[in-house]
C-alpha cells in the first residue's frame, strides 16, 4: 500500500507542535504585559566566569576567535539581560517586563543529549513584593494550563531559609555542597549522621534534619516550620511565603501550590523566592524560576528581579497527548500543460497575493505531489477548469476564477 509520506512527515508535525507551543506561550506572556527581547548568540566567556551562576563552565560551548578571545554560545539568558540593563542603568528606572524565546547551548557532562535547547521565559525587574512574586508564579501556572496540562504542581521555596541555617553552622564550601545534596535528595537517613561529624548543637541538627520534609500544603508546612525557626529572618520568610500563597489562592491556584522548604538554591544567584513546576507523567521539572535581587550587583547596578524559564523541549515531551491536528490540506493545486507555463505563473502569483497557498505543477508531474488540496485548477490551451469537490467549471479570466473561489467559500 502506498503511503502518503507528506501527510505523515514527522519533521513537519514536530515543528507544528513546537510552533503551536511557542505561540501559546508567547500569547500568555503578552497578556501579562511582557515584551519580547533577544540577546546575542555569542557571549563573552568572561561574563560567565565573573558571575556566580549554576551554569557549569565546562558545560559551555566555547569558541576562540581570530584574536584569541574566548566566546561562548549563549548558555543562559538571564545573565546577559541583567548585564545589558546594568550597563545602561545604575538602578532600576521603573518596572520592566521582558520575555524571550531563544535557544541556549550547553553540553551536559554526564548525559548524552542535545546541546541545543529552546528556553521560553520572563524576567520581571521590580522591587520585592508578594503581589509581584505571586503574579509571576501565577503566570507560570497559567502558561502550563494553556498548554493543556491538567495536573500542575508548583513547588515554592525560599533561598534564605536554608541560607540562614548555613550562617549558623561552620562548614567549609565542600561540606556545604554535600549538605545541599543531602537536602535536595531529601535524604534524612544520612543527614543526621553527616551533621553529627561536625561541632553543631543537637537542636540545630534536629532542625536541619526536619527541612527536607517541610513539604506540602503551605499553611500546614509553615506551622511545622515555625517549630524549628532559629532567627527572626526565618519567621519573616515564612510570613512572606504565606502572603504569596494567600495571593495565589486569589488567582485560584490553591491546589497547584506546594511549599517545599527543602527546595534550595539551584541557581547560584537566586536570593529569595524560588520555584519549580511539574506536570503529570513527566519526570523532570518543566520550568524553574526565582527572585534574583543581587545579580545586578555583580555588574555594579541595583536591579531586583524575578523570572522563570521553561525548557520548551521538556514541555513538548511532556505533552504526551498528540494535540496536533492532521495536516491541513493546501488551498489550491494548479496543473498546467507546458505551453501555459506563463499563464499559470501569473494566476498562481495573483492567488498567492490573495493569501491562498498554491502549488503548481505541469500536468505530467502531477503525481510528484500527493497532498490534498481544497480546489484544483487545470490550465490548458483548450480551456481553464476550476474544480471544487465534484464540480467542474470552466473560467476565462482571473476575475471569473476569484468569483468561483468566493462562491465556493460561501458554500462551505
Amino acid at each position: 500500500m502506498y503511503n502518503d509520506y507528506r501527510m505523515n512527515d514527522q519533521n513537519v508535525k514536530d515543528y507544528q507542535k513546537y510552533e503551536r507551543t511557542i505561540k501559546t506561550i508567547n500569547k500568555r506572556f503578552k497578556t501579562y504585559g511582557y515584551e519580547r527581547i533577544k540577546t546575542p548568540m555569542f557571549e563573552q566567556y568572561d561574563l560567565y566566569s565573573q558571575v556566580k551562576s549554576s551554569i557549569n563552565k565546562r558545560e559551555m560551548i566555547k569558541i576562540i576567535d581570530r584574536t584569541g578571545d574566548v566566546s561562548v554560545l549563549r548558555p543562559d539568558i538571564t545573565v546577559p539581560i541583567t548585564k545589558q540593563l546594568a550597563d545602561n542603568y545604575p538602578e532600576l528606572p521603573n518596572d520592566l517586563r521582558y520575555y524571550y524565546v531563544q535557544d541556549v547551548f550547553r553540553q551536559s557532562l554526564l548525559e548524552e543529549g542535545s546541546i541545543e535547547g529552546t528556553q521560553a521565559g520572563v524576567e520581571y525587574f521590580c522591587e520585592t513584593s508578594a503581589e509581584a512574586d505571586a503574579e509571576v508564579i501565577a503566570l507560570a501556572c497559567h502558561t502550563l494550563k494553556d498548554l493543556g496540562f491538567s495536573d500542575i504542581k508548583l513547588e515554592i521555596g525560599h533561598a534564605s531559609f536554608f541560607h540562614e541555617f548555613i550562617r549558623m553552622i561552620d562548614l567549609d564550601a565542600a561540606d556545604v555542597e554535600q549538605l545541599k545534596g543531602l537536602i535536595q535528595a531529601k535524604n534524612i537517613v544520612e543527614l543526621g549522621p553527616f551533621l553529627r561529624q561536625f561541632n553543631i548543637t543537637e537542636d540545630i541538627i534536629e532542625a536541619i534534619v526536619t527541612i527536607p520534609m517541610l513539604y506540602g500544603n503551605p499553611v500546614e508546612v509553615s506551622e511545622r516550620a515555625r517549630k524549628i525557626v532559629q532567627t527572626e529572618k526565618m519567621d519573616e520568610t515564612l510570613d512572606y511565603l504565606l502572603e504569596v500563597y494567600e495571593i495565589l489562592k486569589l488567582y485560584g491556584l490553591e491546589n497547584n501550590i506546594v511549599l517545599d522548604l527543602g527546595l534550595i538554591n539551584h541557581m547560584g544567584y537566586y536570593s529569595d523566592v524560588i520555584f519549580q513546576g511539574f506536570v503529570e507523567k513527566f519526570g523532570k521539572p518543566v520550568l524553574m524560576g526565582g527572585r534574583y535581587n543581587h545579580l545586578g550587583n555583580e555588574f555594579g547596578a541595583d536591579l531586583p528581579a524575578i523570572g522563570f524559564a521553561c525548557e520548551v523541549e521538556s514541555l513538548l515531551n511532556a505533552l504526551t497527548t498528540d494535540t496536533v491536528s492532521p495536516r491541513t490540506p493546501i488551498d489550491i493545486k494548479l496543473l498546467y500543460d507546458e505551453e501555459n507555463l506563463k499563464e499559470s505563473i501569473l494566476i498562481a502569483n495573483e492567488l498567492r497575493e490573495r493569501n491562498y497557498t498554491v502549488l503548481s505543477y505541469p500536468v505530467e508531474k502531477a503525481s510528484s505531489n500527493v497532498q490534498n488540496s481544497i480546489y484544483q485548477l487545470l490550465i490548458t490551451s483548450k480551456e481553464n477548469i476550476f474544480k471544487y469537490r465534484d464540480e467542474q467549471t470552466s473560467f476565462q479570466s482571473l476575475n471569473e476564477l476569484l468569483k468561483l473561489l468566493n462562491g465556493a467559500k460561501g458554500a462551505m
Binding site: L110, D151, K153, E155, A185, K186, N187, I188, V189, Y215, G216, V258, F278, V279, E280, K281, F282, G283, K284, P285
Partner: protein, 208 residues
C-alpha cells in the same frame, strides 16, 4: 487513580524487597520466583511493579518511567541520580570495601590498579585519600582480577566475606556501609504526593 509504578532490581535484593512488600500488605498474585513477567500488579490494583536490571533502575526512576524504586545505596552512589532518597529499608546490608592480598599496602606512589564495578565510588574514595589509581571496570567476578594479575586490588561489595577468604583476599579498607533504599522521582513526589506518602507509611510500619 493512576497506578504507582514501583521498580525493583532483579538480582540480589529482589527477594527481600518482595518480602517487605508482602509484609506491608501489598500482595502480587502473579509473583513467583519462576515467573518471567516483567510487569505485575498488586491485588488492590494500586501498585504496578516492574523488574529492571540493577544498573538501569536509577535511570527508570530519574526519568519518571517508575515513580519509586528499591535499590542498593551502592548503585545510588555510582549512578548519582537526581531523585529523592527517602527511606532506608534496612535490608541488603553490606559494605563497599577495598580488598586485595594481605601483603598489599595502600599508599601513595605509583598508581594502584583497581578492578571494580564502581569506578565512580572508587575514584571518589581514592581522590579523598590523595592516592592515584587506575580503575578497570568489570561487571562481575571482581575477585578474579587480583588472582590473575589484572589488578592489584579490587573495590567491591562484601556481605559475609566468604568469597574473599576462599580466594585468599582480605579487606584492606572499608569505604561505606550500604543497604537498600527507597528512591522517588521528584516530579512524582509533586504530582502523586498522597499515593507516595501512603506507600511509604505502609513500608515504615513494617520497618518499625
Amino acid at each position: 487513580m493512576d497506578y504507582l509504578t514501583l521498580a525493583i532490581a532483579t538480582g540480589r535484593t529482589s527477594k527481600q524487597a518482595m518480602k517487605l512488600l508482602e509484609q506491608a500488605g501489598l500482595n502480587f498474585p502473579d509473583y513467583n520466583n519462576k515467573s518471567r513477567k516483567l510487569v505485575i500488579y498488586d491485588e488492590t490494583k494500586t501498585v504496578k511493579l516492574i523488574f529492571v536490571k540493577t544498573a538501569d533502575l536509577t535511570t527508570y526512576v530519574e526519568k519518571g518511567a517508575a515513580d519509586v524504586g528499591i535499590i542498593g545505596k551502592d548503585t545510588i552512589m555510582e549512578e548519582q541520580p537526581d531523585v529523592y532518597e527517602l527511606v532506608d529499608l534496612n535490608f541488603g546490608k553490606c559494605q563497599v570495601v577495598v580488598a586485595g592480598f594481605p601483603t598489599r599496602k595502600i599508599r601513595n606512589g605509583a598508581p594502584i590498579t583497581v578492578a571494580t564495578k564502581y569506578p565512580l565510588i572508587t575514584k571518589a574514595f581514592f581522590d579523598r585519600k590523595g592516592i592515584r589509581v587506575e580503575t578497570i571496570k568489570l561487571n562481575g567476578s571482581i575477585e578474579l582480577a587480583p588472582l590473575i594479575g589484572l589488578s592489584e586490588v579490587i573495590v567491591d561489595i562484601v556481605e559475609t566475606g566468604t568469597t574473599l577468604k576462599e580466594n585468599g583476599l582480605v579487606v584492606l579498607d572499608k569505604i561505606v556501609d550500604i543497604s537498600a533504599r527507597l528512591i522517588v522521582n521528584k516530579a512524582s513526589f509533586a504530582t502523586k504526593t498522597y499515593q507516595i506518602e501512603q506507600f511509604i507509611s505502609k513500608l515504615k510500619a513494617v520497618l518499625e
